[in-house]
């Protein structure tokens, strides 16, 4: 009987000790940025709440054992507990709030195989569903101090639109272009949780400018936001200047698409230029396409 009582007491003590820190996902974006280093810049990606008994053995100190798994449970990355930071529960008993940089400090995360290679080359994991698991552990021997909490999320690298029409260096007939120019582009991939706003911009390239220089310098002749559609018919309402005999250049324009999310921010802020702008294309307008040169006298 005495043995049974002692065993029961031991189990209760162990349970109390194990349960002294509780981690809960307050927020986990199910489709977070594919760029893992970007998680730390956005509080809406991951928020953990740690609660427990600060007066318990260890002074309420703990580390977080973080694991990233595929859906079949294979661990592809985990935190190097020897180097991860130590957290302390609030002495007032209020929850300790932790973010992505705390729960998944990339500088202390060790990934394996193709996932490691992908991360080194692209900063992203291969597209797919993953599970993130966190568990509070003792700072000395890493024994569990609480239950493991897991959540699934989906990662996919966002691809900006590819401009399709007018295609690069297309020469448009001014007679048609002065009435309407059709612009087409591919959609943002993968399809975003909310409709994407495509901001189409057309800039005139002055004879002394390069296309990218014009794009970064001039006021756009067209600056229009289109929600969810990937075609726009522009009525330029312009008189295109005739062929410039001095510079030997046709009227030149550069166009691009800026992809914006529901908050009007670029859909990707870490890829390329950080502005969510697609690779621009140029097109020319030939005002004298049908002109026959007059015979010289």
């Amino acid at each position: 009987m005495k043995k049974i009582s002692l065993t029961a007491i031991a189990i209760i003590i162990t349970t109390i000790c194990i349960a002294q820190v509780k981690l809960n996902f307050a927020i986990l974006n199910t489709q977070p940025p594919a760029q893992l280093s970007e998680w730390g810049n956005r509080r809406e990606v991951l928020t953990l709440m740690a609660t427990g008994q600060p007066g318990a053995p260890g002074g309420g100190q703990f580390k977080i054992k973080t694991e990233i798994k595929t859906l079949d449970g294979t661990v592809i990355g985990n935190a190097d507990l020897a180097r991860t930071p130590v957290f302390t529960l609030n002495s007032t008993g209020t929850p300790t709030i932790l973010f992505a940089n705390d729960a998944m400090p990339l500088e202390f995360m060790v990934f394996t195989g193709k996932y490691k290679t992908s991360l080194e080359r692209t900063g992203k994991l291969p597209a797919g569903n993953y599970i993130i698991c966190v568990r509070p552990v003792n700072i000395i021997d890493y024994t569990p101090l609480g239950e493991e909490q897991c959540k699934t999320f989906y990662l996919a690298s966002t691809q900006l639109p590819i401009l399709m029409k007018p295609y690069n260096e297309e020469v448009l007939d001014a007679k048609k272009a002065q009435t309407a120019i059709i612009f087409r582009w591919s959609p943002v991939v993968p399809t975003q949780p909310s409709p994407v706003t495509y901001r189409i911009q057309v800039f005139e390239v002055l004879p002394t400018q390069s296309p990218v220089q014009a794009m970064r310098s001039n006021q756009p002749l067209l600056d229009k936001e289109i929600v969810a559609a990937t075609q726009f018919i522009w009525q330029p309402q312009l008189s295109f200047l005739p062929y410039d005999g001095e510079t030997k250049k046709l009227p030149t324009f550069v166009w691009t698409i800026q992809s914006l999310d529901v908050n009007h921010n670029p859909v990707t802020q870490t890829d390329g230029n950080g502005e969510g702008r697609s690779e621009p294309l140029i097109f020319f307008v030939n005002p004298d396409k049908n002109k026959k040169p007059a015979k010289e006298n």
Partner: protein, 584 residues
């Protein structure tokens, strides 16, 4: 504005100096009978642009201005050639009012002197050259290769040395200044000051071969903007590339470039011992990525036949400071050809290829088919026919949606042209029909919507052989049909070109009226009038003016009904052409 005045005085000062140098040299030449003379070529000028917008009814803002109200542009691009071996070219192009809408300077209104100098809308470059040595000062747009650097202007100092077949280039400077974020309105996105370095070492024989190693680096200064930009991160990147071009006999060529980039997407992220650094050039942070890119082209260029194959691979993590808009993670391959046949009366240009995006990601790999054909045939002096066909298809898997994305764009154009030659007039009649079809699949329902566009154009151009006038007339019909919207446009336009004042003045006027209709709403009306006047004041001085006005009145498709606007535009400027050669 004081920057402008400062630069204008600089500019004027340069001209005075040039004149003094010129006079002095001419005197010396006359005295010493030295054969070599100072030669000056190039241009200088000033252009004013004005814009006006009047909207009705008062208070309606449905149409936004699309040009700066006022703008003054200056250009000063003479080349002083002091001797056969020594030249001094200037390239000054700058504007009074910043109008940046995209890029690091977006929204800036009152730039500092440093921001004015490095603003991409302004260039201040001087490139003194002695034999094979060129000093590069000020703003330079240097293109080292397709994968290293080429799109960005950098204000700084460098050299381009070309002794015999050897090539050594180096340049360092600032491509953008720090710009503080302003919540606005108007919003200023903000930017970090970016320092750039680039170098090239190699051998080159023009039209024969080129082998070179390029290195280009850029680094942001994180403390250079306060408050910092909200959505832009301080970055650092380096790219090393090996480029080789080979031109063989009979028009065969081979071009290839391989590159590796190491790029830190956010310098604020912690240093990472897990990632490889490229010391001493760059130290790895947790946001540092290293990837590769390569491109190769092989083919043959001939008088009547060009044939080439091009392959380009950009790894998903390939990123360069020198090409900020480069879209990575793709594989392009393209076969292109140009054929001249039938005694040059038939010309065919065609390309066929595919672009694969998201190469690394098999689940969401996107494929884009590219096909272009342009076939021109001059059947006789009286009849020619041009046919063009373009196809762009984009397809990718679903991601989380039930259906994948599939967009296909098809365009077919047929353009016959008839020419009738009389004794005093040539009549040119050109007809054109274009059919454009754009199919787009809804990723939720799987339904495909078709967007069809028909365009018909008839142009008549009479050319008078004994008169100095040259008119043209055209009628265009445009019809676009997509579920829920039908757009019809009809345009009538007429233009007249002529010379006057003993051929010193070229005049061109154009009138264009467009009647538009959306669904069953009442029609909208658009009238555009424009006029060009190019006046040759002297052999070296020209005055060019462009005036335009645009009146647009909406139908009842928008509220308020009857809304309309009038845009006016004016561009006028003087250009002086330096040319001492022709004065002799």
């Amino acid at each position: 504005m004081k920057h402008i005045l400062f630069c204008f005085f600089l500019l004027t000062g340069f001209e005075l100096t040039a004149q003094e140098v010129k006079d002095s040299l001419l005197l010396n030449k006359a005295k010493d009978k030295v054969k070599e003379k100072l030669q000056i070529s190039g241009t200088m000028g000033i252009t004013y642009e004005g814009y006006g917008l009047s909207r009705s009814p008062s208070g309606w803002t449905g149409y936004q201005p699309r040009r700066p109200w006022h703008q003054v542009r200056f250009n000063f691009t003479p080349t002083f050639k002091f001797s056969k071996n020594f030249s001094l070219p200037f390239n000054f192009n700058f504007a009074a009012i910043p109008t940046n809408f995209a890029g690091p300077y977006a929204g800036i209104k009152k730039p500092s002197f440093g921001q004015f100098i490095t603003n991409p809308m302004n260039s201040f470059g001087i490139n003194p050259k002695y034999k094979w040595a060129e000093l590069q000062l000020g703003t330079q747009y240097l293109k080292y290769s397709e994968l290293s650097t080429g799109d960005i202007g950098v204000f700084g100092v460098g050299v381009d040395l070309r002794p015999k077949i050897f090539r050594f280039k180096f340049f360092t400077g600032i491509s953008q200044q720090g710009i503080n974020y302003v919540a606005g309105p108007p919003i200023v996105t903000g930017a970090y000051k970016r320092k750039n370095w680039m170098a090239q070492i190699g051998v080159e024989k023009e039209d024969s071969y080129l082998f070179a190693i390029n290195i280009a680096k850029g680094k942001d200064v994180p403390t250079s903007a306060a408050p910092p930009p909200l959505t832009i991160r301080p970055q650092e990147g380096i790219v090393i590339s090996l480029v080789s071009d080979l031109y063989l006999e009979k028009g065969f060529y081979f071009k290839a470039e391989g590159a590796q980039s190491t790029f830190t997407k956010d310098l604020a992220t912690p240093l990472s011992p897990n990632l490889k650094s490229l010391k001493p050039f760059i130290e790895a942070h947790t946001s540092t990525i290293t990837d590769f890119a390569a491109q190769a082209a092989v083919g043959k260029k001939g008088k009547n036949l060009d044939l080439g194959v091009m392959v380009k691979y950009l790894g998903a993590g390939f990123q360069t400071i020198g090409y900020p808009f480069l879209q990575s993670d793709r594989l392009d391959y393209l076969l292109n050809t140009r054929i001249n046949a039938w005694k040059n009366k038939m010309n065919i240009v065609a390309s066929l290829g595919q672009r694969v995006n998201n190469v690394k990601n098999t689940a969401l790999r996107a494929k884009q088919f590219i096909g272009n054909l342009n076939w021109f045939t001059q059947f006789s002096d009286k009849f020619s026919l041009n046919i063009n066909y373009n196809n762009f298809g984009f397809q990718t898997a679903s991601g989380l949606n039930p259906f994948g994305i599939k967009n296909v764009s098809n365009d077919l154009g047929i353009n016959p042209t008839f020419t009738f030659t009389g004794k005093k007039i040539i009549h040119l009649i050109s007809m054109s029909y274009n059919y454009s079809k754009y199919d787009e699949r809804d990723v939720m329902t799987g339904l495909t919507t078709s967007n069809n566009t028909h365009t018909g154009l008839l142009t008549y151009v009479p050319t008078y052989l004994e008169k100095e006038i040259s008119p043209d007339f055209s009628i265009l019909y445009f019809y676009n049909n997509v579920p829920g919207a039908k757009i019809t446009l009809a345009t009538f336009s007429a233009a007249l070109s002529m010379q006057a004042a003993k051929k010193k003045m070229r005049l061109r006027g154009q009138l264009q009226y467009t009647l538009g209709k959306l669904n069953s709403f009442s029609s909208n009306n658009n009238l555009i009038a424009s006029c060009n006047i190019d006046f040759k004041l002297t052999k070296k001085l020209t005055w060019a003016t462009f005036l335009t006005t645009n009146y647009f009145k909406y139908g009842n498709e928008i509220i308020p009904n009857g809304a309309n606007y009038v845009e006016t535009g004016c561009r006028t400027g003087f250009q002086y052409r330096f040319d001492t050669k022709k004065q002799k």
